[in-house]
């Protein structure tokens, strides 16, 4: 083996550590950049009118994103109504019966679902809902979002429930509590914080999705509560305004990005708080 002097090795050691640190700092630059950019450009366009008015035609100043705000809330609501019950119960199934053959098939299915590009799920929602109903609708967008949210919730539920000690369940069963009650009233509440974390993450992920909504919810310049009609959403509004050639619309897009980013990052931080404060521990 080639002899290398100790001094050179020590210098190499320092250089390695410095290089690691420098490259890691490079990796955190974009987050800072995005936050600064969005806050500087976006925060100035936020006012009451921006949040409560509808978009105006090109050339007129002002206008807001009320339709997109309401649309995003409704789309997330539809997605949650479908994905939370199904996702949590699938998580219970995996935690209770995960070692069976169906259990491993289901786990593989959920993990595959997690990796499917969101635009592909948009196409699936299109052929399942938009095509038979002959029109874009908020319902189809919500179903696309549900398929994106489902695996996040399921895996978080399973992971949490597996952390609950067997002694807790045995204590309940020994007291004569029935099996369903043990699972639903003892095990599930003990893991509530982990499930909540999963749900919040899923909502954050769904709220930021735009690709699957392109040909499901489609977008709508007017305020609507009808889930069988096309509906606007924040990410789609940002996409349409950002890629338009009009500076007034760019300003709206910066404002909408600010609102979306604050919402999504707040949910992410909330998730960390929830899991830090009410962590499952025994």
């Amino acid at each position: 083996m080639r002899e290398v002097s100790l001094q050179r090795r020590l210098r190499g050691d320092k250089a390695f550590k410095a290089g690691t640190l420098a490259l890691s700092l490079v990796a955190t630059v974009p987050l800072t950049l995005i936050l600064v950019f969005i806050v500087i450009r976006g925060a100035s366009s936020i006012n009451w009118q921006f949040l409560t008015a509808l978009p105006k035609p090109v050339g007129e100043s002002g206008g807001g994103i009320a339709n997109a705000l309401v649309g995003t809330v409704l789309l997330i609501l539809i997605g949650s109504l479908i994905s939370i019950p199904l996702g949590v119960s699938a998580g219970i199934f995996l935690a209770e019966r995960g070692k069976t053959r169906l259990g491993s098939v289901t786990r593989l299915a959920v993990e595959t679902l997690m990796g499917i590009p969101s635009i592909v799920l948009g196409i699936v929602a299109y052929v399942w809902v938009v095509r038979p109903m002959r029109g874009f609708s908020a319902l189809s967008g919500g179903i696309a979002l549900a398929m994106i949210m489902l695996p996040v919730i399921t895996l978080a539920t399973e992971e949490t429930l597996l952390l609950i000690p067997v002694s807790l369940r045995e204590a309940a069963l020994a007291l004569g509590v029935s099996y369903p009650r043990t699972v639903l009233r003892v095990v599930l509440p003990a893991g509530l914080s982990g499930i909540l974390t999963g749900v919040l993450l899923a909502v954050a992920r769904g709220a930021g999705e735009s690709a699957p909504l392109l040909f499901t919810a489609f977008g709508n310049p007017y305020l609507t509560g009808n889930i069988l009609k096309p509906m606007a959403s924040l990410p789609l509004t940002i996409f349409n305004y950002a890629t338009s050639p009009y500076p007034e619309w760019h300003a709206l897009a910066w404002g909408a990005s600010f609102v979306l980013l604050v919402f999504v990052l707040a949910l992410n931080l909330l998730t960390k708080l929830v899991s830090a404060k009410w962590k499952v521990q025994f």
Partner: protein
């Protein structure tokens, strides 16, 4: 006689099984729908679908090689950038600073990177990265597109970074203490421990994380659509505009007229689904095997 109260145990169990079945059926239904709806295209396009470069709805030619190449090119350049950065992050947070203020700030920063919506990345890319690339191209005396495959790759690199970095960090911190201490006590410097003990030990787990990141990159849509240039010419020049499979779907799906046109776009989605699922499952398998081995 003791009356045994019905505790609904069997009903509950069957309900659980039913839910598990439903989720498995959901995945099967997704695959079958994509397959059935791309049948007209499969029959019409044949193998030329992945070997030809002519995408022309007017003449009914649907050949996707340009987009397949664009997807692979942007994803792998992004993966190269992301892998270098995530190795640095994984070593820093998995070996040098495993706890403490710096570690938690950096960890949170990288995790938040994963939470930023794709469309916001695209918007920033359009107004920050594109002018930089354009200025760079002017200096080099090239056509100043600004948009293009390299621009998309840089953006993608930061979008997929959190996936490989967090798994890399976990895998490096799983390396047993006694191995590291043994190397240190034999006179290895910390960086030698990282390179000769930790990295070889965690190698396959890190590879799993890189595969998960690749799966993300392949299917990423909105940010790429906004900065890739959406051109229809096959090129390997990363500084010129290109196109990807996902971005083509995003641009054309809602305006596609005609059964074969729509069906060809669904065929692209089917290909995307199969490739990214395969990579994703492989990545998860490797990670599971490695962490199971490390905990023995």
């Amino acid at each position: 006689m003791v009356r045994i109260r019905n505790d609904y145990g069997s009903t509950f169990r069957s309900l659980l099984v039913l839910v598990g079945l439903a989720v498995s059926v959901l995945l099967a239904a997704i695959f079958l729908s994509l397959f059935l709806f791309s049948r007209p295209a499969l029959l019409n396009n044949g193998l030329r679908f992945i070997t030809g470069t002519e995408w022309n709805p007017v003449t009914g030619k649907f050949q996707a090689l340009t987009f397949v190449v664009g997807t692979l090119l942007t994803s792998f350049i992004a993966l190269a950038i992301a892998t270098v950065l995530s190795f640095a992050l994984a070593i820093l947070l998995g070996y040098y600073f495993r706890t403490g203020a710096l570690a938690s700030v950096m960890k949170t920063a990288v995790e938040l990177l994963a939470g930023i919506p794709s469309v916001v990345y695209g918007f920033i890319g359009l107004f920050f990265l594109v002018p930089i690339v354009r200025a760079f191209q002017l200096v080099l005396g090239m056509p100043p597109y600004g948009v293009g495959m390299l621009t998309a790759s840089i953006l993608l690199a930061f979008m997929i970074l959190p996936y490989s970095a967090s798994i890399g960090r976990e895998m490096i911190s799983l390396v047993p203490e006694d191995l590291k201490e043994a190397a240190l006590s034999l006179g290895a410097t910390p960086s030698e421990v990282v390179r000769k003990v930790s990295l070889p030990y965690a190698r396959s787990g890190i590879l799993g994380g890189v595969l998960l990141a690749l799966g993300r990159a392949l299917g990423e849509t909105m940010a790429v659509t906004m900065v890739v240039g959406n051109s229809y010419n096959l090129t390997l020049n990363v500084l010129s505009p290109g196109n990807t499979m996902a971005s083509l779907i995003a641009n054309e799906f809602s305006e596609a007229t005609g059964e074969v046109y729509l069906s060809s776009l669904i065929e692209i989605a089917l290909l995307l689904f199969l490739v990214s699922s395969a990579i994703n499952i492989l990545g998860k398998l490797i990670i599971k095997r490695t962490s199971a081995a490390a905990q023995l």
